[in-house]
Amino acid sequence: SQQGEEDPQALSIQEGENATMNCSYKTSINNLQWYRQNSGRGLVHLILIRSNEREKHSGRLRVTLDTSKKSSSLLITASRAADTASYFCATDAYAAGNKLTFGGGTRVLVKP
């Protein structure tokens, strides 16, 4: 089974539009984190949401977590061309120490 699967796999939007991507996971988690990766670069941490939190904001980013559905969403509002990147969710589980389990990512293309 795969822990952390993003949906959709790819998303193409116009600058100024909102982008929403979802992440589903299978086992109980401690935290869920969202990362951005520009092509050929490292992973940039965006937001960490804990299992007892339901929503978190950071600038133009909004993350929700529904532990009953084992899912999370990342919303980027008023997107910019610079938001073009792959976005990954990563979970860490109580029984798995601090290791992160990554999903396959959503590739977002923001067209100017």
Partner: protein, 113 residues
């Protein structure tokens, strides 16, 4: 803003050779990690390190691999007798505490010929 730095950015090595990938974690962080990403695949956890010892390792992290914190700033991943399938991007990460965000370096692209 403090960042995790990795060297080299690209390493090309003949199959069977040993490689050492280097990382300088963020200075006040206490937890260190290595992950890898094979081209087109997910980022995979390799190992976590805390208090000068391995705290967890994945099935991938077999006897071919080892980690070390040789001094107060560096954190290294050694791969002995490299294989073609070791070709991947290797990422180092660190966190202040175990339940805090992990901050990643830009990675070392390892190419085994």
């Amino acid at each position: 803003e403090p960042e995790v730095t990795q060297t080299p950015s690209h390493q090309v090595t003949q199959m069977g050779q040993e490689v050492i990938l280097r990382c300088v974690p963020i200075s006040n962080h206490l937890y260190f990690y290595w992950y890898r990403q094979i081209l087109g695949q997910k980022v995979e956890f390799l190992v976590s390190f805390y208090n000068n010892e391995i705290s967890e390792k994945s099935e991938i992290f077999d006897d071919q691999f080892s980690v070390e914190r040789p001094d107060g700033s560096n954190f290294t991943l050694k791969i002995r007798s490299t294989k073609l399938e070791d070709s991947a991007m290797y990422f180092c990460a660190s966190s202040e505490r175990g339940d805090q965000p992990q901050h990643f370096g830009d990675g070392t692209r390892l190419s085994i010929l």
